[in-house]
């Protein structure tokens, strides 16, 4: 995936002279994940710029560049290091179009390597999507496949609105068949894509949880479950249409993400699905999410991150037969 992102940046820089990259370590080092490898060498320091280490300054500077007609692409090194830039994101990046009644759109992409599962110490494993999703004015994307990493990043850079582009760290080194010379077309951002057909329930996920759901769906076959897996790809805008179509077909849904469940994206999805598809549901929409704890130390992160077993456990609960006592809460409490 890192290679696909690198290719997307290179192609964007080649295609459009107004595209500029900036961030900490994006130059000679090529980024700590090597996503910007070789770009300064090819395009020069003015197009791919090592900046001082200050996230608000990086994003704020990119705002000014975008105000003057450039298309800056920012790299913020790790999810938890993006927080100093949050004021710029919330107060200016998200609002500049609105503040100026459409006169100053901000074509700005903020790339954030995000999520856990790589054994990083604290501040290197946060899943911060809910903060961005809750901020009107931002697009929020999270690719799960190599093709999407390429196609969605190109689309993000071409967008006339700001995009927070969340790159799942643990998929950077995923091995997938991919031809960098002929990148496959992807669905438009904003549309969810069914990664696996299935009739008995749908697993709804994005980013790093998509491969976990595919694995869980495979494992669930042994228990007679035919699970669909839906990859949201874009959290804002949100594809109600495809999500609800999948839920109506299957009648059962589990939302999976690794960020904390409380007031997380899964809560929003469960609510939306319940509001729109209530009569099609055979069971409550369940959530499988990370615990409501600060991101744990690496030796414990496997207990926090939703894995195949926790997803299968939730799928088992989707049977939702009324308990003998008639107390629906009994089923909900089972793990």
């Amino acid at each position: 995936m890192a290679q696909a992102l690198n290719r997307a940046l290179r192609d964007a820089l080649r295609a459009d002279p107004s595209v500029h990259l900036l961030g900490e370590d994006v130059g000679a080092l090529g980024g700590v994940f090597r996503v910007t490898d070789g770009l300064t060498a090819e395009f020069g320091e003015d197009r791919c710029t090592d900046t001082p280490l200050a996230e608000a300054g990086i994003v704020g500077t990119a705002v000014g560049m975008a105000m003057y007609g450039l298309r800056p692409v920012v790299e913020l090194q790790f999810d938890a290091f993006a927080y100093p830039a949050f004021e710029q994101l919330a107060s200016h990046v998200a609002k500049m179009r609105n503040r100026t009644a459409g006169r100053l759109p901000l074509p700005l992409t903020v790339r954030i390597p995000y999520g856990g599962g790589i054994g990083g110490v604290e501040h290197h494993g946060d899943s911060s999507e809910a903060y961005y999703v809750h901020t009107p004015g931002l697009h929020v994307m999270a690719p799960a496949t190599v093709e999407d990493a390429y196609g969605m990043l190109r689309a993000a850079i071409a967008s006339d609105d700001p995009v927070v582009f969340l790159e799942p760290k643990r998929l950077y080194w995923s091995k997938a068949e991919w031809d960098p010379e002929a990148p496959a077309a992807t669905a438009p951002p904003g549309r969810a894509v069914l990664r696996r057909e299935g009739r008995s329930a749908v697993l709804i996920a994005y980013g790093p949880s998509v491969p976990v759901c595919l694995e869980a769906a495979e494992a669930a076959r042994a228990d007679g479950w035919d699970l669909a897996v839906l990859d949201l790809r874009s959290l804002v805008p949100f594809d109600d249409e495809t999500v609800c179509a999948a839920v109506r077909r299957t009648g059962r849904a589990v939302v999976v993400h690794e960020s904390s469940g409380f007031a997380g994206v899964g809560a929003e999805i469960a609510a939306r699905v319940t509001e729109r598809c209530f009569h099609h549901l055979e069971a409550p929409v369940l959530r499988v999410a990370g615990f409501d704890i600060p991101y744990p130390p690496p030796m414990l992160e496997r207990h926090h991150l939703p894995g195949v077993d926790r997803i299968l456990d939730a799928v088992a609960r989707l049977q939702w037969e009324s308990s003998p006592s008639g107390d629906p809460d009994e089923g909900a409490g089972r793990r």
């Binding site: 900046t51 300054g57 560049m65």
Partner: protein, 387 residues
Amino acid sequence: MTLLDRAQGSAPWTPQSTGPRTEPGPLLPDAAPVRLLGEDAAGSAGTAAGLAPELLRTLHRRLVTGRRFNEQATALAKQGRLAVYPSSTGQEACQIAAAGVLQPTDWLFPSYRDSLAAVARGIDPVEVLTLLRGDAHSGWDPRRNRTAPLATPLATQAPHAVGLARAAALRGERLVALVLMGDGATSEGDFHEALNFAAVLRAPVVFLVQNNGYAISVPLAKQSAAPSLAHKAVGYGLPGRLVDGNDAAAVHQVVGEAVEYARDTGGPVLVEAITYRVDPHTNADDPRRYRSPEEAAAWRDHDPLVLMERHLRAAGLLDEEQRSAAAAEAEALAERMRAAFRTDPRPDPLDLFAHVYAEPTPQLREQEALLRAELAAEAESSGEEHR
């Protein structure tokens, strides 16, 4: 060799690390702020003599108009025509003189107290006050007058100026970005990051801090322990300059030099203008809780208009005819403001959804439909029709 020696540019200094750096000249400001309009009746032996009489008269006219703008806007706030007004009475020289030195191609990044600077850029006073009236976030097209929207969070517009100036430099254009801020803004992280970025990336930005003594109620002594706010430039490797912010001629000269330095060298400058906030922070503030009336009174003799008129009279540059012409011009502006604010604006509620994204999301379309239905129901019950 101490840091100060280096800052004074008195000794050569070779960085151990990368490539050549341009010596930015003396970094430390002079101990006393630059002052051109003398305090004495003689105009302090004509220190402003180098400035053209026509320039001084123009500055005077703009000071008179600026003062009247502040008075009228304050009155509009008291009448409820403006949701709030942060007055810049006593600080007019900083804004009008600084904005006045910009070329049409330059950019201005004002904060919420800098309405006069926006007016000085040629923006219609009503458009300038839209944010404070409460019908829209920004009344003007930032590209038309090359003026960013008034920024309310402190110092957050400073990195924008750096990015914009850098973008222009990358295109080979020699424009300068001028950022206006208050003393409180110098405590914010974005202020420091912007100074550092501008110095390291070589962006032609002039940071003008209007030190008016208070960040709402917190006095400068509790804001900064530095000898001056202009000293803050030193650590970032850019020149700091200190000017009497109530002396319009001095602000014109010092900011003018800073802008031309930025234009010529491509590098940034920090200017601190020492001034005083005569009025409360906004009309919602009660300054009696944190400062004495005597303190404000002491500044009256150092008022920007008083300084300018005293100087012009001593130099024989201001007669009664010119004075009344300036007053008439100011009164005409006030009357235009009163007329424009006599009626309440009726912003279209559906505009709430118009400029969130280039293409509204499906969710926003649904919400827009909901509001449209609510408006239709309201209209039906009141017998009106929306649009």
